[in-house]
């Protein structure tokens, strides 16, 4: 797949412009020299002034950086989006049904559709969650599905991200910046709004409040604090929703109920949108050395006195090894064929598949099972022979620690670079909310690999973002 030219979202192979990009193309052609250069530097100033930063772990030059923002939006046609969002909705429903089943009767294991060992001996499986009844039966309320496009009508889901996906604030701020930078372009295209996300997030959180919470439940966003890489997003979302931004020490549990320490004394908390990993949530239940969590929180949750969003233990459904079974999962719970495809994935514990992988590693993508953010990953075609050899050794040493996939020819979008406008590879992370119903914000976060030819879009690896426009009919 790597040899063929990637699908470009703006231009057809014959150089003509694809329908959804007509208005953008005309606008680009009208821009005087240097206009984009100016816009690009304005954008940088806007982001830095607003303090929209993220922290790069291990980076020496200061802890905060601005994610590069590309001023050329990525455009998705209305009918393309309808198809995508149907597939996403189906997937998140099936994954929530799977989680309910895994933490209750485990029918799918009994039916032999997924090997028992893969689930029960998986580090992401949380036995503490067995038999627990989450509000509305929902485990994964906030989801960011990573999708790549390889053709006009061909999409693949790379990852489901059911733990605490980040980046939604960039989706919102990218739109804000784009409206400031190119208001005239919005007049020419009918772009679906993304500004509804914070309100929808609030509704979703309210809809899963415990039964006794009353009309207007108290919502807290639980953050590890200002040194966390996504702190900006935590404070941004709390602000936009009108929720309290709390750190662990701001909360305490008394009599199985959760309270926050306010200027006027304890105040009950009903729903916690936590941006702390499972392991750190509650030192009494999970890691005892956690300073970030709240002692007793899990028991309060078990007692049904507070809702945790997302529920602990959702990682079992987005584990890279379980990922290969998602089409199976969709069929098992919904009786439908999966609308969105999985990327074919090789299982290195199988000797035959492993040998094939080792022989063809230069054409493949290798990912660590528990890695994220582009760390512990190798893209064969853009890596050196030494890297190939290193990953061959790694796979042989611990075949269960890696999954291997073909190198997908990610679609490209026109992107502003030093040499002018040039195609760069992109992916897409739409944000999905699951509560009383499924709410999908039209658009999402488009990540773009700014280096020519690169397929790694992660911000920690030099990727940037683009505003993502879903056109309305």
């Amino acid at each position: 797949m790597a040899e063929t030219a990637p699908f470009d979202e703006m231009y057809n192979a014959d150089g003509s412009v694809r329908e959804p990009y007509r208005a953008l193309n005309a606008w680009l052609e009208e821009q005087p020299d240097k206009a984009l250069t100016l816009m690009q530097s304005d954008a940088e100033a806007i982001f830095r002034k607003l303090g929209i930063t993220f922290a790069v772990y291990g980076s020496e030059e200061g802890t905060e950086k601005v994610i590069p923002f590309d001023v050329i939006p990525r455009i998705i046609a209305a009918q393309e989006w309808r198809k995508l969002s149907k597939g996403i909705e189906q997937r998140v429903k099936a994954l929530n049904a799977f989680l309910y089943d895994i933490y209750h009767r485990q029918e799918i294991l009994k039916a032999g559709r997924i090997p028992e060992k893969l689930i029960l001996q998986n580090a992401a499986f949380a036995p503490e969650m067995m038999g627990l009844e989450p509000a509305k039966g929902v485990y994964a309320h906030i989801i960011g599905v990573d999708i790549v496009r390889v053709g006009p009508d061909e999409y693949y889901v790379l990852e489901d991200n059911l733990r605490t996906p980040s980046g939604v604030s960039y989706m919102l701020e990218d739109r804000e910046a784009m409206m400031q930078l190119a208001p005239d372009l919005f007049h020419r295209c009918k772009v679906a709004p993304v500004e509804t996300y914070p309100e929808n997030l609030r509704r979703t959180l309210e809809s899963v409040a415990p039964a006794g919470a009353g009309q207007s439940p108290n919502i807290a966003v639980l953050t590890p604090g200002i040194y966390n890489s996504a702190y900006f997003e935590h404070s941004f979302l709390a602000d936009q929703m009108g929720a309290q931004l709390c750190e662990g020490p701001d909360l305490f549990v008394d009599g199985g109920k959760v309270y926050m320490r306010t200027t006027t004394g304890p105040e009950r908390v009903d729903v916690i949108y936590r941006r702390i990993d499972d392991d750190y949530l509650d030192p009494l239940t999970f890691r005892p050395d956690s300073m970030l969590g709240v002692p007793g929180l899990f028991n309060a949750y078990r007692a049904g006195n507070v809702t945790l969003v997302n529920a602990p233990g959702t990682g079992i459904a987005d584990d890279k090894a379980v990922y290969t079974y998602v089409p199976e999962i969709v069929e098992f719970y919904l009786g439908e064929k999966a609308l969105l495809s999985n990327v074919p994935t090789y299982n290195c514990t199988d000797e035959e598949q492993r040998n094939w992988v080792l022989a063809n590693i230069a054409d493949l993508v290798v990912k660590e099972v528990h890695g994220s953010g582009g760390y512990g990953m190798m893209v064969g075609p853009t890596s050196t022979k030494a890297m190939h050899a290193e990953f061959r050794r790694k796979i042989e040493a611990r075949p269960d620690n890696y999954i291997v996939q073909p190198t997908l020819a990610l679609s490209t979008c026109p992107t502003y670079v030093n040499a002018g406008v040039a195609p760069r590879h992109v992916d897409l992370r739409p944000y999905v909310l699951v509560g009383d119903r499924v709410r999908i914000t039209p658009g999402g976060l488009t990540r773009v690999a700014l280096k020519k030819g690169s397929l790694v879009v992660n911000s920690s690896q030099g990727g940037g973002t683009k505003d993502t426009w879903v056109l309305e009919d």
Binding site: K49, G51, G225, I226, E247, R261, T262, T264
Partner: protein, 315 residues
């Protein structure tokens, strides 16, 4: 509803901005005095007494042998080991602001964040001589800008009261320390006319409080020890006087009590602070002892912070 930690962060955010400004003021005075001092060793003496007022003299002595202008300026402006350096204050203010982004306005955040981003880019070795005065001016201006953003954009609720309380507790502390540093030149003496040295010291005190010109507007008179003390302690119209600051502290703690509908211990602490500078006269203060008076004032001011932390669950 506000977290106790948020209230605490707001209070200290304001305090640190005010402190950064006061450190710049003090350094400016020390620097000017060191330029005009004619006596041998006088320059270092001025700088040391300035650092005494800032309560960083011991930290300085632990690190440096001699107090020359460049060393002192670097210590006061850029040294992260000096917890009151402008650098440390702006970093602490910005860290507090970042923790309470949801409780302050975008304008306040942008002002604070912008100040920090600019300041952290400055290379200390580029800041000498005339450049130093320019930078001190810049620090004051950024403090004014932040206060302007605060007054112009924030809701008049509990958050506002915590911010204001922090601002005036810090300012009261600073003015009291400036006075205490030179209290002996303010004592009434047999001779009514001050010597050269006195005038120089008085100018220092007034300048440190940005009061050397407004003094004339109020007293229409040449510098006199008793007037200067009166101006910075009792005058209600002087925005850096102890009286003015104590009134604002009291007002804002009353505002909090109204807002929450409950009287609190800290209001009593504020009343006791204000009682020291209300319905009194400089004669009474001098007869009691100026230094003793200032020491007591600083102690009561600290009690306000303690009581406030207690009343509103800072932790």
């Amino acid at each position: 509803m506000m977290l106790g930690r948020t209230a605490q962060n707001l209070f200290w955010l304001s305090r640190y901005v005010e402190r950064a400004e006061n450190m710049a003021r003090l350094l400016e005075v020390g620097y000017r005095m060191s330029l005009t001092s004619r006596r041998e060793g006088g320059s270092s003496e001025h700088l040391m007494s300035m650092m005494q007022a800032a309560e960083v003299d011991e930290a300085f002595a632990a690190k440096h042998k001699t107090a020359d202008v460049d060393t002192v300026a670097h210590f006061m402006m850029f040294d992260p080991d000096n917890s009151s350096s402008v650098y440390s204050c702006l970093l602490a203010a910005r860290t507090n602001a970042r923790s309470v982004r949801t409780a302050i306005t975008t304008d306040m955040w942008e002002s604070m964040n912008g100040a920090w981003l600019e300041y952290s880019q400055i290379k200390p070795r580029d800041v000498r001589g005339a450049k130093l005065l320019g930078l001190l001016q810049w620090v004051k201006q950024r403090s004014h800008e932040f206060r302007g953003a605060l007054l112009g954009t924030i809701l008049r609720d509990d958050g506002f009261a915590f911010l204001q309380a922090g601002n005036f507790v810090e300012r009261a502390d600073n003015t009291a320390r400036i006075l205490d540093m030179k209290y002996y030149v303010l004592l009434p003496r047999a001779t009514l006319v001050g010597g050269e040295l006195d005038i120089q010291q008085w100018t220092l005190i007034l300048r440190a409080a940005s009061a050397h010109r407004s003094y004339r507007h109020v007293y229409h008179d040449r510098y006199k020890a008793q007037n200067i003390a009166d101006f910075l302690i009792l005058r209600p119209e002087m925005p850096r006087s102890l009286n003015f600051c104590a009134q604002f502290v009291q007002q804002n703690l009353d505002l909090l009590a109204d807002f929450y509908g409950r009287k609190q211990e800290c209001q009593e602490a504020a009343s006791q602070l204000l009682a020291m500078v209300e319905d009194t006269s400089m004669e009474k203060i001098f007869s009691h002892g100026l230094h003793e008076f200032l020491t007591e004032f600083i102690a009561r001011n600290n009690r306000v912070t303690d009581a406030l932390s207690e009343s509103y669950n800072f932790y």
